[in-house]
Symmetry: C2
Subunit: 334 residues, 2 copies
């Protein structure tokens, strides 16, 4: 078992990394109260039930799998359910699922009575290495992702790698793309683990090292004023690809990283992507990706801040003209 402590002043919390932690969630989390366990119908039912069964008063609330559940009407329905069940300020919400469930559950917990305890038990690689920690919660609105939400830290995060056993390989790989992202910008050793191959063998170390990178970044920049942008490495073009549909988030990030690394590093990165069965290009018109990015650029005007990686474990942040991204998009479109 490893415990990482997130140092965020009054909002500090522990990340417990342990195979089998789900079975004894009640030892790590205060479940001696009303507990809403939020999950989605793509997560094995027994995961949420295992947590609810350990609570004094546990209720499972299941939303449909997918981004569409990150909506204000869904947010409102969950809050209504808690109200109906008489949840008080002293009760708690637990997320058992991937990024969608975590983002939604966190926003619900932040808003119910202006904030009640929130725990996260991520069940995908992507959420275990990235989205479950850092306190970014949100829902989507009018087709724009994560536009409504809160910075709200969990009270504890349980990372149980056994939960990944039920995932199909494609989902594992898309999550590993985010771990690879952390290695590229901030941890050469993590990058080298990917290069060595044998991913399954290195899984525990990959997830631990990724969490250590994320922890360090969030501690330095909780509210995403600056440094935290390195977590968006690969995401600028990645989000544009994602808007065009058909690919998982991590797959889009994988492709989106390619133009953002140095020419020397690029073949090494592509080698890793091939080994992970992640795409290294997309069959989409570059104009379509560019248009989607324009819609999604969150009002920075004609400029955008991008992170680039010259060598594994090092990054540069640059403000570039938005249109300068166009040739980069061409690099990864067929």
């Amino acid at each position: 078992m490893n415990i990482l402590h997130m140092n965020l002043g009054a909002d500090s919390y522990d990340i417990v990394i342990e195979r089998g932690a789900l079975q004894k969630a009640g030892e790590y989390l205060d479940l001696d109260r009303k507990v809403l366990v939020l999950t989605d119908d793509g997560v094995p039912k027994q995961y949420a039930q295992t947590v609810a069964a350990q609570a004094k008063d546990g209720f499972v609330f299941t939303v449909p799998q997918g981004e569409d559940s990150k909506s204000i009407p869904q947010f409102s329905m969950i809050l209504s359910d808690m109200l109906k069940r008489g949840f008080s300020r002293k009760d708690a919400v637990v997320a058992v699922g991937g990024g969608v469930v975590g983002d939604l559950a966190g926003f619900v917990a932040s808003a119910y009575m202006r904030g009640i305890d929130f725990y996260n038990i991520p069940t995908t690689v992507l959420s275990q290495v990235d989205s479950s920690i850092g306190g970014k919660t949100a829902v989507n609105l009018d087709g724009v992702k994560n536009i409504v939400g809160a910075f709200y830290q969990p009270k504890k995060v349980l990372v149980d790698l056994d939960l990944l056993d039920t995932l199909d390989d494609r989902l594992v790989s898309e999550g590993l793309a985010e771990a690879l992202k952390m290695g590229l910008t901030s941890d050469e050793k993590l990058f080298e683990l990917f290069e060595k191959g044998n991913i399954k063998e290195s899984m525990d170390e990959i997830i631990l090292r990724s969490l250590m990178v994320k922890k360090a970044v969030v501690e330095q920049d909780e509210k995403e004023q600056g440094l935290r942008r390195i977590l968006n490495f690969g995401h600028t073009i990645g989000h544009g690809i994602e808007s065009c549909g058909g690919l998982y988030h991590g797959e889009c990030v994988a492709v989106g990283m390619i133009p953002m690394v140095s020419d020397e590093l690029r073949p090494r990165l592509i080698g890793i992507l091939v080994n992970l069965r992640l795409p290294s290009s997309v069959n989409v018109n570059p104009d379509e990706i560019y248009e989607a990015m324009t819609h999604d650029k969150k009002g920075e005007g004609d400029y955008v801040t991008v992170t680039t990686v010259p060598r594994p474990g090092e990054f540069e942040m640059n403000r570039v003209r938005f249109e300068d991204l166009y040739p980069m998009i061409q690099m990864i479109t067929k």
Copy 2:
């Protein structure tokens, strides 16, 4: 002009108290950006327009007057409007109105892109002395008040007493009930200003002293863990009365304070209420008030924490059995 500085660490801000501040809002607030000015149709139109006209890109959004505007659908509509207008993280929301507008605008600002700058320009006595500062934002859900929201501090509050000139006397008096509440629990001099009569003459001092009480309480207990409950003095029974309809919030608080003061103090309190033309009893069946309180008690179980006032400027906090409130309700029902 008076400036009170709220000391809340990274969330600190100034409260500027000045007659005529609205006209020069742009000197105090950074309006050199996109600014959504939220108001309601009960507030004189020129107030919001005056602020919007001082902004680089100012938009007035008007909601219907009344509690019904504090809803998740209304919250969602305002966010959609901001999205459509291309608001970025660097833009701002200004509330120009009473408590409803402030609570709604604050929650919107807290959630848009996980938080953008929020300013409050309260236009009622109640919001000037109480609800505009302290960072409690919320909307209602399923008939329960303030059940969904955030603790989110404004970047600045402008208190312009000239804005009160257009209020009718009943609205002024209900706001003064909250100021009287602050005097009772925390400031004997403020209580004595009420006892002296001549309220109009003392208005500037009443508002300043009330804000000083509120500031001190919020600084000690930003997230309402303990001390801040003294601001709920009179509210336990008051909310029960309010749920029965027909009276303003401050009027209900006025009545709700009566059973919560000592027998010696009670006649003095009632004398002040009569002078302010505030009610000192209600013509409602006590059972109805009791039922409403049961529904509203926010899950504290069979007990509730109430604040009582033995002498002006002093308070006691006690956890009492819920049913012990019943004879207190009988005291103020006809």
